[in-house]
Protein backbone atom coordinates (compact mmCIF):
# COMPACT_ATOMS: atom_id res chain seq x y z
CA UNK A 1 0.00 0.00 0.00
CA UNK A 2 1.40 3.35 -0.98
CA UNK A 3 1.39 6.16 1.57
CA UNK A 4 0.89 9.51 -0.14
CA UNK A 5 3.02 12.32 1.22
CA UNK A 6 5.27 15.05 -0.09
CA UNK A 7 7.85 14.88 2.69
CA UNK A 8 9.29 12.33 5.04
CA UNK A 9 11.32 13.18 8.10
CA UNK A 10 13.26 11.31 10.72
CA UNK A 11 11.71 11.53 14.14
CA UNK A 12 15.05 12.41 15.64
CA UNK A 13 16.09 14.97 13.05
CA UNK A 14 14.96 18.28 11.73
CA UNK A 15 15.66 17.69 8.05
CA UNK A 16 12.64 16.53 6.09
CA UNK A 17 13.26 15.11 2.63
CA UNK A 18 10.98 16.24 -0.20
CA UNK A 19 9.95 13.47 -2.58
CA UNK A 20 10.00 13.94 -6.38
CA UNK A 21 6.68 14.35 -8.16
CA UNK A 22 7.54 12.56 -11.40
CA UNK A 23 9.22 9.33 -12.37
CA UNK A 24 12.48 9.42 -14.36
CA UNK A 25 12.29 8.44 -18.03
CA UNK A 26 14.93 5.78 -17.48
CA UNK A 27 16.98 4.42 -14.62
CA UNK A 28 18.91 7.26 -13.02
CA UNK A 29 20.74 7.94 -9.82
CA UNK A 30 18.82 9.70 -7.08
CA UNK A 31 20.19 13.00 -5.77
CA UNK A 32 19.47 14.98 -2.64
CA UNK A 33 20.01 18.73 -2.67
CA UNK A 34 21.26 20.73 0.30
CA UNK A 35 17.64 21.54 1.14
CA UNK A 36 16.59 17.91 1.09
CA UNK A 37 14.87 17.79 -2.28
CA UNK A 38 15.12 14.34 -3.84
CA UNK A 39 15.39 14.28 -7.65
CA UNK A 40 16.74 12.12 -10.45
CA UNK A 41 18.27 14.45 -13.06
CA UNK A 42 20.51 13.46 -15.96
CA UNK A 43 23.70 14.83 -14.48
CA UNK A 44 24.77 12.02 -12.19
CA UNK A 45 27.12 10.40 -14.68
CA UNK A 46 28.96 13.45 -15.95
CA UNK A 47 32.44 12.58 -17.18
CA UNK A 48 34.67 15.61 -16.93
CA UNK A 49 38.10 14.11 -17.52
CA UNK A 50 39.63 11.74 -20.05
CA UNK A 51 42.39 10.74 -17.69
CA UNK A 52 42.71 10.93 -13.95
CA UNK A 53 44.42 13.46 -11.73
CA UNK A 54 47.37 13.24 -9.42
CA UNK A 55 46.49 15.27 -6.40
CA UNK A 56 45.85 18.75 -7.73
CA UNK A 57 47.46 18.06 -11.11
CA UNK A 58 44.76 17.08 -13.58
CA UNK A 59 45.05 14.92 -16.64
CA UNK A 60 43.15 15.62 -19.84
CA UNK A 61 40.12 17.74 -18.99
CA UNK A 62 37.02 17.70 -21.18
CA UNK A 63 36.33 21.38 -21.85
CA UNK A 64 33.65 21.34 -24.52
CA UNK A 65 31.62 19.01 -26.69
CA UNK A 66 29.30 19.92 -29.51
CA UNK A 67 27.20 17.95 -31.93
CA UNK A 68 25.93 19.90 -34.92
CA UNK A 69 23.14 18.61 -37.16
CA UNK A 70 23.89 21.09 -39.92
CA UNK A 71 25.50 24.49 -39.84
CA UNK A 72 27.94 26.99 -41.33
CA UNK A 73 30.67 26.22 -38.82
CA UNK A 74 31.50 24.04 -35.87
CA UNK A 75 33.14 25.57 -32.82
CA UNK A 76 34.42 24.35 -29.46
CA UNK A 77 35.34 26.85 -26.76
CA UNK A 78 37.08 26.58 -23.42
CA UNK A 79 34.76 28.45 -21.07
CA UNK A 80 36.09 26.79 -17.95
CA UNK A 81 36.76 28.99 -14.96
CA UNK A 82 38.66 26.17 -13.27
CA UNK A 83 40.98 25.63 -16.23
CA UNK A 84 40.89 28.84 -18.31
CA UNK A 85 42.85 29.18 -21.53
CA UNK A 86 45.84 30.62 -19.65
CA UNK A 87 46.19 27.34 -17.75
CA UNK A 88 46.13 25.02 -20.75
CA UNK A 89 49.53 23.89 -22.01
CA UNK A 90 48.16 22.02 -25.01
CA UNK A 91 44.78 21.11 -26.43
CA UNK A 92 43.52 17.98 -28.09
CA UNK A 93 40.51 18.15 -30.41
CA UNK A 94 38.58 15.04 -31.49
CA UNK A 95 36.11 15.23 -34.32
CA UNK A 96 33.97 13.61 -36.95
CA UNK A 97 33.08 16.16 -39.62
CA UNK A 98 30.79 15.59 -42.58
CA UNK A 99 30.25 18.16 -45.29
CA UNK A 100 27.21 17.36 -47.35
CA UNK A 101 27.02 18.72 -50.86
CA UNK A 102 28.01 17.02 -54.07
CA UNK A 103 30.46 14.14 -53.70
CA UNK A 104 33.39 16.39 -54.65
CA UNK A 105 36.65 17.04 -52.90
CA UNK A 106 36.95 20.08 -50.67
CA UNK A 107 38.78 21.15 -47.53
CA UNK A 108 37.92 21.81 -43.93
CA UNK A 109 39.64 24.90 -42.58
CA UNK A 110 40.58 25.22 -38.93
CA UNK A 111 41.31 28.34 -36.95
CA UNK A 112 42.27 28.83 -33.32
CA UNK A 113 40.10 31.23 -31.35
CA UNK A 114 41.22 33.87 -28.93
CA UNK A 115 38.38 35.23 -26.81
CA UNK A 116 36.10 33.30 -29.11
CA UNK A 117 37.29 35.03 -32.30
CA UNK A 118 39.26 33.51 -35.18
CA UNK A 119 42.85 34.65 -34.80
CA UNK A 120 45.22 32.45 -36.81
CA UNK A 121 48.95 33.09 -36.98
CA UNK A 122 49.23 31.73 -40.49
CA UNK A 123 51.83 34.08 -41.94
CA UNK A 124 55.44 33.12 -41.52
CA UNK A 125 54.75 29.61 -40.37
CA UNK A 126 56.72 26.58 -41.37
CA UNK A 127 56.46 22.92 -40.63
CA UNK A 128 55.67 19.57 -42.13
CA UNK A 129 52.75 17.22 -42.35
CA UNK A 130 52.85 13.53 -43.04
CA UNK A 131 50.29 10.93 -44.02
CA UNK A 132 49.82 7.57 -45.62
CA UNK A 133 48.16 7.69 -49.00
CA UNK A 134 46.84 5.05 -51.33
CA UNK A 135 49.44 4.12 -53.92
CA UNK A 136 52.34 6.16 -52.59
CA UNK A 137 52.60 5.02 -49.00
CA UNK A 138 54.14 7.49 -46.58
CA UNK A 139 54.30 11.03 -47.89
CA UNK A 140 55.10 14.49 -46.58
CA UNK A 141 54.54 18.05 -47.62
CA UNK A 142 55.38 21.42 -46.18
CA UNK A 143 53.25 22.60 -43.32
CA UNK A 144 50.08 24.46 -44.01
CA UNK A 145 50.10 28.22 -44.15
CA UNK A 146 46.91 30.18 -43.72
CA UNK A 147 46.00 33.75 -43.01
CA UNK A 148 46.54 36.03 -40.05
CA UNK A 149 43.41 38.12 -39.97
CA UNK A 150 40.90 38.58 -37.21
CA UNK A 151 37.28 37.58 -37.40
CA UNK A 152 35.10 35.32 -39.48
CA UNK A 153 36.59 35.89 -42.94
CA UNK A 154 37.05 32.70 -44.91
CA UNK A 155 40.78 33.33 -45.28
CA UNK A 156 41.30 33.44 -41.52
CA UNK A 157 42.42 29.87 -41.06
CA UNK A 158 45.63 28.39 -39.75
CA UNK A 159 45.58 24.95 -41.33
CA UNK A 160 43.25 22.77 -43.34
CA UNK A 161 42.53 19.14 -44.05
CA UNK A 162 41.12 17.62 -47.22
CA UNK A 163 37.71 16.06 -47.25
CA UNK A 164 35.41 14.33 -49.70
CA UNK A 165 31.96 15.78 -49.32
CA UNK A 166 28.97 13.48 -49.04
CA UNK A 167 26.71 13.25 -52.06
CA UNK A 168 24.03 11.00 -50.70
CA UNK A 169 20.39 11.06 -51.78
CA UNK A 170 16.98 9.62 -51.13
CA UNK A 171 16.89 11.63 -49.00
CA UNK A 172 19.89 13.95 -48.86
CA UNK A 173 21.87 13.90 -45.66
CA UNK A 174 20.49 17.06 -44.16
CA UNK A 175 21.39 16.40 -40.55
CA UNK A 176 23.99 14.46 -38.60
CA UNK A 177 21.47 12.65 -36.44
CA UNK A 178 19.57 11.16 -39.38
CA UNK A 179 22.68 9.26 -40.41
CA UNK A 180 22.32 7.20 -37.25
CA UNK A 181 18.64 6.39 -37.68
CA UNK A 182 17.92 3.54 -40.09
CA UNK A 183 14.43 4.87 -40.68
CA UNK A 184 15.67 8.25 -41.91
CA UNK A 185 19.21 7.65 -43.20
CA UNK A 186 19.89 8.24 -46.91
CA UNK A 187 19.56 5.15 -49.07
CA UNK A 188 20.89 6.46 -52.38
CA UNK A 189 24.31 7.37 -53.64
CA UNK A 190 27.02 5.04 -54.83
CA UNK A 191 29.86 5.01 -52.37
CA UNK A 192 27.68 7.00 -50.06
CA UNK A 193 29.04 7.37 -46.59
CA UNK A 194 32.72 7.37 -47.50
CA UNK A 195 33.10 11.10 -47.09
CA UNK A 196 33.96 12.96 -43.96
CA UNK A 197 36.94 13.61 -41.80
CA UNK A 198 37.73 11.78 -38.56
CA UNK A 199 40.47 11.95 -36.02
CA UNK A 200 42.19 14.38 -33.73
CA UNK A 201 44.92 16.97 -33.52
CA UNK A 202 46.99 18.43 -30.72
CA UNK A 203 47.80 22.10 -30.41
CA UNK A 204 50.63 23.68 -28.39
CA UNK A 205 49.17 26.70 -26.59
CA UNK A 206 52.09 29.09 -26.36
CA UNK A 207 51.21 32.78 -26.17
CA UNK A 208 52.76 33.60 -29.52
CA UNK A 209 54.34 30.37 -30.64
CA UNK A 210 51.28 28.19 -30.90
CA UNK A 211 50.42 25.53 -33.41
CA UNK A 212 49.61 21.97 -34.29
CA UNK A 213 51.92 19.29 -32.97
CA UNK A 214 52.00 15.56 -33.46
CA UNK A 215 48.84 13.72 -32.54
CA UNK A 216 48.13 10.31 -31.08
CA UNK A 217 45.93 9.32 -33.97
CA UNK A 218 46.13 11.92 -36.71
CA UNK A 219 43.20 12.29 -39.05
CA UNK A 220 41.62 9.99 -41.57
CA UNK A 221 39.62 10.76 -44.67
CA UNK A 222 39.44 11.08 -48.40
CA UNK A 223 40.49 14.22 -50.22
CA UNK A 224 39.37 13.73 -53.80
CA UNK A 225 35.99 13.78 -55.45
CA UNK A 226 34.13 10.99 -57.14
CA UNK A 227 33.44 7.37 -56.50
CA UNK A 228 36.83 5.76 -56.99
CA UNK A 229 38.77 5.04 -53.88
CA UNK A 230 41.73 7.28 -54.52
CA UNK A 231 43.61 9.70 -52.37
CA UNK A 232 42.80 8.51 -48.90
CA UNK A 233 44.98 10.15 -46.33
CA UNK A 234 45.40 8.13 -43.21
CA UNK A 235 47.07 9.15 -40.00
CA UNK A 236 47.74 12.67 -41.23
CA UNK A 237 49.60 14.75 -38.67
CA UNK A 238 50.66 18.38 -38.74
CA UNK A 239 53.46 20.35 -37.19
CA UNK A 240 53.75 24.07 -37.86
CA UNK A 241 54.95 27.05 -35.86
CA UNK A 242 55.63 30.72 -36.60
CA UNK A 243 59.11 31.03 -38.07
CA UNK A 244 60.13 34.38 -39.50
CA UNK A 245 57.23 36.68 -38.63
CA UNK A 246 56.22 38.10 -35.32
CA UNK A 247 53.02 36.44 -34.16
CA UNK A 248 50.12 38.59 -35.28
CA UNK A 249 47.96 37.35 -32.45
CA UNK A 250 49.20 36.80 -28.93
CA UNK A 251 47.53 35.43 -25.88
CA UNK A 252 46.27 31.95 -25.16
CA UNK A 253 43.94 30.11 -27.51
CA UNK A 254 40.55 29.32 -26.00
CA UNK A 255 38.98 27.22 -28.73
CA UNK A 256 38.81 26.13 -32.36
CA UNK A 257 36.44 26.64 -35.26
CA UNK A 258 36.17 24.80 -38.56
CA UNK A 259 34.18 25.25 -41.76
CA UNK A 260 34.06 24.18 -45.40
CA UNK A 261 36.38 26.27 -47.58
CA UNK A 262 33.43 27.33 -49.72
CA UNK A 263 31.01 27.76 -46.85
CA UNK A 264 31.13 29.51 -43.52
CA UNK A 265 29.79 33.02 -42.84
CA UNK A 266 29.32 34.84 -46.11
CA UNK A 267 30.09 31.75 -48.15
CA UNK A 268 27.91 29.42 -50.18
CA UNK A 269 25.16 28.31 -47.85
CA UNK A 270 24.99 24.91 -49.56
CA UNK A 271 28.39 23.93 -48.18
CA UNK A 272 27.28 23.00 -44.70
CA UNK A 273 29.08 20.85 -42.19
CA UNK A 274 27.82 18.56 -39.45
CA UNK A 275 29.27 16.22 -36.87
CA UNK A 276 30.83 16.45 -33.44
CA UNK A 277 33.86 18.06 -31.88
CA UNK A 278 35.35 17.53 -28.44
CA UNK A 279 37.87 19.86 -26.83
CA UNK A 280 40.28 18.48 -24.24
CA UNK A 281 42.95 20.45 -22.43
CA UNK A 282 46.10 19.39 -20.64
CA UNK A 283 46.57 21.95 -17.85
CA UNK A 284 50.03 23.09 -16.97
CA UNK A 285 51.09 21.79 -13.61
CA UNK A 286 49.70 23.56 -10.60
CA UNK A 287 53.01 23.48 -8.79
Amino acid sequence: MAVRTEKIQSLTGSAPLTLPKTLPSSSKGVQVSTTGVISSPDVTNTLSHKTSSIGSDPGWVLLDHIEVDEGETMKVVNSSTTYPASDIYCYEVHFNIISNYNNNGSEIRFSPLRSGTRSPNGNGRSGVRTYYSTGSGMEATTGDVGGSGTGSANSNYEFFQGIKMEGMSNPGLSSYSMAFDKDTAPLGGTYGGDGGLNGSFRYYNGSGYAGTITSDTGTFGRRSHGNSYNDWRLGETHFAMPRGNSPTHTGKVNGFECWNQNGGPGGNSSYTIMGFMQLYGMPKTTS
Binding site: I8, I54, S126, G127, I213, T237, F239, S246
Partner: protein
Amino acid sequence: MASLIKTNKISTPGGEEFTLPTTYPGTTSSLTSTSGGQLGYGSLGFSSDVLSSDNKVINTNAGTFFESSVQSGSLVDKARIKNDSTATAVTLDIVPSLRTGQVAANVQFVTLHFCGVCFSDSGFRPTIQLLDSDNNNVISNSNANQAMRSYHNSGGSFSNQSKDPNVAYMPLLYNESYRPTGASAASELFNQTALRNGTAMMNGYVSMMIISSDANSDTDTSGSRFGAGGLILSKNNFAFRYESSYSSSSSNSIIGSYGKYVSKQQTLNNPTKIKFYTHTGTTVMNEGLFWTETIMNPGKTT
Protein backbone atom coordinates in the same frame (compact mmCIF):
# COMPACT_ATOMS: atom_id res chain seq x y z
CA MET B 1 0.36 22.74 3.37
CA ALA B 2 2.59 19.92 2.29
CA SER B 3 1.88 16.67 4.02
CA LEU B 4 4.74 15.40 6.15
CA ILE B 5 5.29 11.96 7.61
CA LYS B 6 7.60 11.78 10.61
CA THR B 7 9.15 8.40 11.17
CA ASN B 8 12.53 6.89 11.85
CA LYS B 9 12.12 4.16 9.28
CA ILE B 10 10.29 3.38 6.10
CA SER B 11 9.87 -0.15 4.83
CA THR B 12 8.76 -2.09 1.81
CA PRO B 13 5.84 -4.52 1.94
CA GLY B 14 8.49 -7.24 2.02
CA GLY B 15 9.81 -5.89 5.28
CA GLU B 16 13.08 -4.33 4.18
CA GLU B 17 13.59 -1.31 6.39
CA PHE B 18 15.42 1.88 5.56
CA THR B 19 16.42 4.35 8.26
CA LEU B 20 16.05 7.98 7.28
CA PRO B 21 18.94 10.42 7.57
CA THR B 22 18.59 13.22 10.09
CA THR B 23 20.55 15.97 8.30
CA TYR B 24 20.88 17.50 4.87
CA PRO B 25 23.99 16.89 2.75
CA GLY B 26 26.60 19.66 2.62
CA THR B 27 26.48 19.64 -1.17
CA THR B 28 24.21 18.03 -3.71
CA SER B 29 24.82 14.31 -3.24
CA SER B 30 23.54 10.95 -4.29
CA LEU B 31 21.27 9.05 -1.95
CA THR B 32 23.02 5.94 -0.64
CA SER B 33 22.23 3.07 1.64
CA THR B 34 24.32 0.75 3.77
CA SER B 35 23.62 -2.97 3.84
CA GLY B 36 21.78 -2.29 7.06
CA GLY B 37 19.42 0.09 5.33
CA GLN B 38 20.79 3.33 6.76
CA LEU B 39 20.10 5.99 4.16
CA GLY B 40 22.79 8.62 3.71
CA TYR B 41 24.57 10.84 1.22
CA GLY B 42 27.47 9.78 -0.96
CA SER B 43 29.64 11.08 -3.75
CA LEU B 44 27.91 12.14 -6.91
CA GLY B 45 28.70 10.61 -10.28
CA PHE B 46 32.21 10.14 -11.52
CA SER B 47 35.02 11.93 -9.81
CA SER B 48 38.13 13.11 -11.56
CA ASP B 49 39.82 9.91 -10.44
CA VAL B 50 40.26 7.04 -12.89
CA LEU B 51 37.27 5.04 -13.96
CA SER B 52 37.57 1.71 -12.22
CA SER B 53 35.51 -1.35 -11.62
CA ASP B 54 35.72 -4.35 -9.39
CA ASN B 55 34.00 -6.48 -11.99
CA LYS B 56 36.10 -9.48 -12.77
CA VAL B 57 37.59 -10.12 -16.19
CA ILE B 58 36.95 -13.59 -17.56
CA ASN B 59 40.08 -15.57 -18.23
CA THR B 60 38.70 -17.87 -20.90
CA ASN B 61 41.70 -20.17 -20.96
CA ALA B 62 41.48 -21.00 -17.31
CA GLY B 63 37.73 -20.63 -17.14
CA THR B 64 38.12 -18.51 -14.06
CA PHE B 65 38.26 -14.86 -13.23
CA PHE B 66 41.16 -12.55 -12.76
CA GLU B 67 41.24 -11.36 -9.20
CA SER B 68 42.37 -7.83 -9.89
CA SER B 69 40.12 -4.93 -10.65
CA VAL B 70 39.84 -3.37 -14.06
CA GLN B 71 41.11 0.18 -14.42
CA SER B 72 41.01 2.67 -17.23
CA GLY B 73 44.00 4.62 -18.44
CA SER B 74 45.23 6.94 -15.74
CA LEU B 75 47.52 9.90 -15.43
CA VAL B 76 50.45 8.74 -13.34
CA ASP B 77 53.00 11.54 -13.22
CA LYS B 78 53.51 15.03 -14.57
CA ALA B 79 56.37 17.54 -14.59
CA ARG B 80 57.00 20.95 -16.08
CA ILE B 81 60.25 22.84 -16.68
CA LYS B 82 59.72 26.61 -16.91
CA ASN B 83 63.06 28.10 -17.99
CA ASP B 84 63.70 29.42 -14.48
CA SER B 85 65.73 26.28 -13.92
CA THR B 86 67.11 23.52 -16.07
CA ALA B 87 67.06 19.75 -15.96
CA THR B 88 69.40 17.13 -17.31
CA ALA B 89 66.66 14.53 -17.16
CA VAL B 90 62.98 14.10 -16.42
CA THR B 91 62.09 10.86 -14.64
CA LEU B 92 58.43 10.03 -14.21
CA ASP B 93 56.60 7.21 -12.47
CA ILE B 94 54.66 4.78 -14.61
CA VAL B 95 52.99 2.69 -11.87
CA PRO B 96 49.71 4.24 -10.71
CA SER B 97 48.35 3.99 -7.18
CA LEU B 98 47.60 0.30 -6.85
CA ARG B 99 44.05 -0.71 -6.11
CA THR B 100 43.08 -3.78 -4.15
CA GLY B 101 44.41 -6.85 -5.90
CA GLN B 102 46.69 -4.99 -8.27
CA VAL B 103 50.45 -5.43 -8.48
CA ALA B 104 53.08 -3.30 -10.19
CA ALA B 105 53.58 -6.03 -12.80
CA ASN B 106 50.04 -5.30 -14.07
CA VAL B 107 51.47 -2.28 -15.88
CA GLN B 108 50.91 -3.15 -19.52
CA PHE B 109 50.78 -0.01 -21.65
CA VAL B 110 52.65 3.18 -20.83
CA THR B 111 52.81 6.43 -22.76
CA LEU B 112 55.17 9.30 -22.04
CA HIS B 113 53.90 12.51 -23.63
CA PHE B 114 56.08 15.58 -24.08
CA CYS B 115 55.10 19.00 -25.36
CA GLY B 116 56.87 22.30 -25.93
CA VAL B 117 60.27 20.87 -25.01
CA CYS B 118 63.22 23.23 -25.52
CA PHE B 119 66.88 22.66 -24.82
CA SER B 120 69.45 25.13 -23.66
CA ASP B 121 71.93 24.44 -26.43
CA SER B 122 72.64 22.22 -29.37
CA GLY B 123 73.91 18.80 -28.58
CA PHE B 124 70.94 17.43 -26.71
CA ARG B 125 70.16 13.91 -27.92
CA PRO B 126 66.70 12.97 -26.64
CA THR B 127 66.79 9.49 -25.21
CA ILE B 128 64.51 7.14 -23.32
CA GLN B 129 65.54 4.79 -20.53
CA LEU B 130 63.35 2.60 -18.33
CA LEU B 131 64.18 2.10 -14.66
CA ASP B 132 63.19 -0.79 -12.43
CA SER B 133 62.11 -0.46 -8.81
CA ASP B 134 65.75 -0.25 -7.70
CA ASN B 135 66.44 2.52 -10.26
CA ASN B 136 68.55 0.17 -12.36
CA ASN B 137 68.45 0.56 -16.13
CA VAL B 138 66.11 -1.96 -17.72
CA ILE B 139 67.59 -1.49 -21.19
CA SER B 140 71.20 -2.56 -21.33
CA ASN B 141 73.78 -3.46 -23.95
CA SER B 142 73.18 -7.13 -23.35
CA ASN B 143 69.60 -6.83 -24.50
CA ALA B 144 68.78 -7.90 -28.00
CA ASN B 145 67.60 -4.69 -29.62
CA GLN B 146 65.83 -4.18 -32.89
CA ALA B 147 64.80 -0.78 -34.13
CA MET B 148 63.25 1.01 -37.04
CA ARG B 149 63.33 4.76 -37.38
CA SER B 150 61.92 6.97 -40.10
CA TYR B 151 61.18 10.62 -40.53
CA HIS B 152 60.10 13.23 -43.04
CA ASN B 153 61.39 16.75 -43.13
CA SER B 154 59.61 19.87 -44.28
CA GLY B 155 60.82 19.43 -47.86
CA GLY B 156 59.18 16.03 -48.02
CA SER B 157 62.45 14.07 -47.91
CA PHE B 158 62.23 10.74 -46.24
CA SER B 159 64.82 8.89 -44.24
CA ASN B 160 64.44 5.35 -43.04
CA GLN B 161 66.67 3.33 -40.81
CA SER B 162 66.17 -0.23 -39.75
CA LYS B 163 68.91 -1.57 -37.64
CA ASP B 164 70.06 -2.76 -34.26
CA PRO B 165 71.47 0.29 -32.51
CA ASN B 166 73.11 -1.95 -29.91
CA VAL B 167 73.07 0.74 -27.30
CA ALA B 168 71.86 0.71 -23.73
CA TYR B 169 69.02 3.18 -24.29
CA MET B 170 66.36 4.17 -26.80
CA PRO B 171 67.59 7.16 -28.80
CA LEU B 172 65.00 9.43 -30.37
CA LEU B 173 65.80 11.61 -33.33
CA TYR B 174 67.94 14.52 -32.27
CA ASN B 175 66.89 18.03 -31.51
CA GLU B 176 68.92 21.20 -31.29
CA SER B 177 67.95 24.45 -29.73
CA TYR B 178 69.07 27.56 -27.99
CA ARG B 179 67.80 29.09 -24.85
CA PRO B 180 65.57 32.16 -24.95
CA THR B 181 67.18 35.32 -23.71
CA GLY B 182 66.77 35.50 -19.99
CA ALA B 183 66.79 32.39 -17.87
CA SER B 184 63.54 32.99 -16.04
CA ALA B 185 59.96 31.88 -16.14
CA ALA B 186 59.07 35.27 -17.66
CA SER B 187 61.19 34.43 -20.68
CA GLU B 188 59.71 30.98 -21.07
CA LEU B 189 58.83 30.39 -24.72
CA PHE B 190 55.39 29.24 -23.58
CA ASN B 191 54.65 32.85 -22.59
CA GLN B 192 56.69 34.77 -25.17
CA THR B 193 54.88 36.93 -27.69
CA ALA B 194 57.79 38.60 -29.51
CA LEU B 195 59.52 37.36 -32.62
CA ARG B 196 62.02 34.57 -32.13
CA ASN B 197 63.20 33.35 -35.49
CA GLY B 198 63.07 29.66 -36.09
CA THR B 199 62.56 28.65 -32.51
CA ALA B 200 63.20 25.00 -31.92
CA MET B 201 60.80 22.84 -30.01
CA MET B 202 60.05 19.16 -29.57
CA ASN B 203 56.67 17.45 -29.17
CA GLY B 204 55.54 13.88 -29.24
CA TYR B 205 55.00 10.70 -27.30
CA VAL B 206 56.63 7.37 -26.57
CA SER B 207 54.36 4.35 -26.12
CA MET B 208 55.60 1.20 -24.43
CA MET B 209 53.90 -2.18 -24.45
CA ILE B 210 55.38 -4.10 -21.55
CA ILE B 211 54.82 -7.69 -22.63
CA SER B 212 56.49 -9.58 -19.83
CA SER B 213 59.52 -9.55 -17.59
CA ASP B 214 60.16 -13.22 -18.05
CA ALA B 215 58.21 -14.63 -20.96
CA ASN B 216 58.56 -18.33 -21.55
CA SER B 217 62.03 -18.49 -20.01
CA ASP B 218 61.40 -21.93 -18.52
CA THR B 219 61.34 -23.61 -21.90
CA ASP B 220 63.92 -21.69 -23.88
CA THR B 221 66.64 -19.59 -22.31
CA SER B 222 69.41 -20.22 -24.77
CA GLY B 223 68.03 -19.56 -28.21
CA SER B 224 66.97 -16.44 -29.98
CA ARG B 225 63.40 -17.55 -30.25
CA PHE B 226 60.85 -14.80 -29.85
CA GLY B 227 59.52 -14.83 -26.34
CA ALA B 228 62.59 -16.47 -24.87
CA GLY B 229 62.91 -13.72 -22.30
CA GLY B 230 61.52 -10.39 -21.26
CA LEU B 231 59.96 -8.30 -23.98
CA ILE B 232 59.06 -4.63 -24.42
CA LEU B 233 57.66 -3.08 -27.57
CA SER B 234 57.95 0.63 -28.22
CA LYS B 235 56.31 2.98 -30.71
CA ASN B 236 57.27 6.63 -30.73
CA ASN B 237 56.02 9.64 -32.63
CA PHE B 238 57.38 13.13 -32.51
CA ALA B 239 57.40 16.43 -34.37
CA PHE B 240 59.80 19.27 -33.89
CA ARG B 241 61.73 22.11 -35.38
CA TYR B 242 65.46 21.74 -34.98
CA GLU B 243 67.70 24.78 -35.00
CA SER B 244 71.12 25.41 -33.57
CA SER B 245 71.13 29.13 -34.31
CA TYR B 246 68.71 31.91 -35.11
CA SER B 247 67.23 31.68 -38.57
CA SER B 248 64.37 33.46 -40.24
CA SER B 249 64.45 31.25 -43.29
CA SER B 250 65.12 27.72 -42.17
CA SER B 251 62.24 25.26 -42.27
CA ASN B 252 64.03 22.59 -40.32
CA SER B 253 61.02 20.63 -39.17
CA ILE B 254 60.58 16.92 -38.82
CA ILE B 255 57.79 14.48 -38.17
CA GLY B 256 59.14 11.08 -37.35
CA SER B 257 58.22 7.74 -35.98
CA TYR B 258 60.31 5.16 -34.29
CA GLY B 259 59.53 1.57 -33.43
CA LYS B 260 61.59 -0.76 -31.37
CA TYR B 261 61.46 -3.88 -29.30
CA VAL B 262 63.68 -4.81 -26.46
CA SER B 263 63.99 -8.43 -25.54
CA LYS B 264 66.30 -10.42 -23.38
CA GLN B 265 66.97 -14.10 -22.99
CA GLN B 266 66.78 -13.71 -19.26
CA THR B 267 64.58 -11.79 -16.91
CA LEU B 268 63.97 -8.24 -18.03
CA ASN B 269 62.83 -6.45 -14.90
CA ASN B 270 59.51 -4.69 -15.04
CA PRO B 271 60.02 -0.93 -15.38
CA THR B 272 58.54 1.41 -12.78
CA LYS B 273 59.87 4.71 -14.15
CA ILE B 274 60.63 6.25 -17.52
CA LYS B 275 63.44 8.75 -18.05
CA PHE B 276 63.83 11.38 -20.79
CA TYR B 277 67.44 12.63 -21.02
CA THR B 278 70.40 13.14 -23.35
CA HIS B 279 72.80 10.30 -24.03
CA THR B 280 75.66 12.62 -24.96
CA GLY B 281 77.11 15.72 -23.39
CA THR B 282 75.70 17.73 -20.56
CA THR B 283 73.23 19.91 -22.40
CA VAL B 284 70.08 20.47 -20.41
CA MET B 285 66.42 21.07 -21.00
CA ASN B 286 65.03 24.43 -20.00
CA GLU B 287 61.36 24.08 -20.86
CA GLY B 288 58.57 21.59 -21.51
CA LEU B 289 55.65 19.63 -20.10
CA PHE B 290 55.93 15.88 -19.56
CA TRP B 291 53.34 13.39 -18.35
CA THR B 292 52.78 9.63 -18.21
CA GLU B 293 49.59 7.64 -18.75
CA THR B 294 49.28 3.94 -17.92
CA ILE B 295 46.81 1.15 -18.62
CA MET B 296 46.82 -1.84 -16.27
CA ASN B 297 46.14 -5.43 -17.32
CA PRO B 298 45.10 -7.71 -14.46
CA GLY B 299 46.14 -10.74 -16.52
CA LYS B 300 49.77 -9.64 -16.69
CA THR B 301 51.39 -10.75 -13.46
CA THR B 302 55.06 -11.13 -14.41
